[in-house]
Subunit: 342 residues, 2 copies
DNA sequence: GTGAAAGCGCTAACAC
DNA sequence: GTGTTAGCGCTTTCAC
């Protein structure tokens, strides 16, 4: 590194005081235009950059956002967070913020890290992911007045109260699954099955509701209520589910994840009925789905990230305003399954 | 946030000077033990944390590392970087460092970001990923004396020179593919095919060499030299490759990636020969491989991350020492393909 | 509109 | 061993 250029160097070179330089940077309107232009020109030429540590010491603003990096999951999912992370980094960068990552094994540990990062590094805000029922993190942050936005709805407590009124952005999984189901209905399918997660999963229930909604509004209940298969998020469960539901006569399958869809389509491909394997729609539009030509419900992660950033900036600028929420609609990505196998 | 505790508060409370507190933190040996213990006790009780901005302003050390987040790739891969990122964050955290992410579309842009992050945020070092031939980044950093470690070997320039002698950590892809090939050889296979990437890819060539090595040392060349199929990194290419090589009588396939392996195994599953689909080994041990019960060569990302961190710390502590490198051996993860389809 | 003074929290250098 | 002095680079008063 060459020697550091400071505001003083510029001031001396230009024969003005250092405050003038500072003003050009932070309150341009207070500076006479001629002076301002002269200073700005010199700043650009010299490649001067204000030092963030000095600024932070003065302002208690670090221009730094924090996010816990979830442990790489076993499942195929996590690809969503991948894309989200990239978009979030990009969005933060576009607004002059940096993104600091950290690890934690539990929510409690995450809160410990919050405290540390707040006092040590003075992070300006946090992004929460993987919110679930009885999540203590929103309240922890809210109590301390720390700006944050969650990617994921507050799912309330077991008791059903939704005391945590904070800013969040989420993707409407229910609507995505409904779209997928109705896509099949439009194609003439009647016996459409659903493979999803056990009932204690908030996200899983939400997705399942999309299937319930669509089916309820098109067909009499007795025709389809049994056509649902729940299990953990694995290709194996997808395969088992496909086998069982196929025996019940389903002609199409909507799945709560690409892992499940992968297993299901893999099973169906071996079945004698032609074209059946293409009657599977997954969720999250992961790289596997793309690789296999599997249709999937795609989360608009870039939009989510941009929205998260917007809500954070909102909290930074004003004081004491209402939390705001966004429920973004996913997009159905229909692929031609045939194209893959030559 | 409650009001910030500073070193001055502690000094007043304890009736010592602020410098003594600082010494306890930074040069404990200079402080009388009784004083030290008293100070340490108070620090722990009060939850005091030294402010990093103030430290940074003084020391020009930010305790912050930078890494470019590669855009989520289309392929199934990128899962490796996922695991690496997590492990790196963890390793950095364990040593009191934070990890700052940033985006860039090109290497040139990445260097621009280096410059910015260096002058604005005074990052202490960088982690480079995705190194390839004619990579300008190592030289850029080295010229400026910025500590960095690359995940990925320097592949030299087209001319073949390897002027960039910097610290790096990499996984021996060649050895991984050799192990995979020899695994098949040990099982009695003779006609073992390889599906990989075009010849202009450094990583791809390396992996292909593993297959070449193993085959060369076991079988006469005329038997197998034709059993190689190269194309871009997609399941489709894997499928096409499997078709073509199967026609040439291969009984097992080693692939340069899980994407290729996915396509290959998917094709083979439809072939009449039973068990053939389980004679495929991929590379990177991505979640898809796990989901499908596909064998794969697994990169020891946690070890890589720990090693990267070690080499960075080494550069931080001493001055002007030799670069150091590590070539880590991947591990062959053999799975029972059958188990998946019930 | 511009300049001077003060201080954010911490630590290297030096005195005691 | 411990305290004092000075200053990292910047910005917010407050004079001028």
């Amino acid at each position: 590194m060459t020697t550091r250029i400071t505001i003083v160097d510029l001031a001396e070179e230009l024969g003005v005081s250092r405050q003038t330089i500072s003003n050009v940077l932070n309150a341009p309107h207070r500076v006479k235009e001629a002076t301002r232009l002269r200073v700005e020109k010199r700043i650009a030429e010299s490649g001067y950059r204000p030092n963030s540590a000095a600024r932070q010491l003065r302002n208690h603003k670090s221009m730094n956002l924090g996010m816990r990096l979830p442990r790489a999951s076993d499942g195929i999912n996590g690809a969503v967070l991948d894309g989200f992370l990239y978009s979030l980094t990009e969005a933060a960068q576009a607004h002059g913020y940096r993104l600091t990552l950290f690890c934690a094994d539990t929510d409690q540990q995450e809160m410990n890290r919050f405290e540390e990062l707040l006092s040590v590094a003075e992070l300006d805000g946090f992004v929460l992911t993987g919110t679930d029922r009885d999540d203590e993190r929103p309240a922890w942050l809210a109590e301390r007045g720390v700006p944050f936005v969650a990617f994921g709805r507050p799912w309330g407590t077991e008791a059903g109260s939704a005391e945590s009124a904070h800013s969040w952005v989420d993707v409407d999984g229910s609507s995505g699954v409904r779209d997928a189901t109705e896509h099949f209905i439009a194609q003439g399918h009647r016996r459409i099955g659903f493979i999803g997660w056990p009932e204690d999963s908030a996200v899983g229930d939400d997705r399942r509701n999309g299937w319930l909604d669509a089916m309820t509004s098109h067909f009499p209940a007795e025709e389809w209520t049994a056509l649902s298969y729940l299990g953990d998020d694995s290709a194996k469960v997808g395969s088992s589910g496909a086998a069982e539901l196929l025996a019940q006569g389903v002609t199409a399958l909507v799945c709560a994840s690409d892992s499940l869809a992968l297993g299901a389509s893999s099973f169906l491909r071996q079945s004698p009925i032609p074209g059946l394997a293409s009657s599977v729609i997954g969720f999250d539009n992961t790289p596997v789905a793309a690789a296999l030509g599997l249709s999937s419900v795609s989360q608009p992660v870039a939009d989510v990230a941009a929205e998260v950033m917007r809500l954070l900036l909102r909290q930074f600028s004003r004081t004491a305003m209402e939390p705001e929420n966004s429920l973004l609609r996913p997009r159905l990505e229909i692929r031609n399954f045939q194209s893959f196998n030559r």
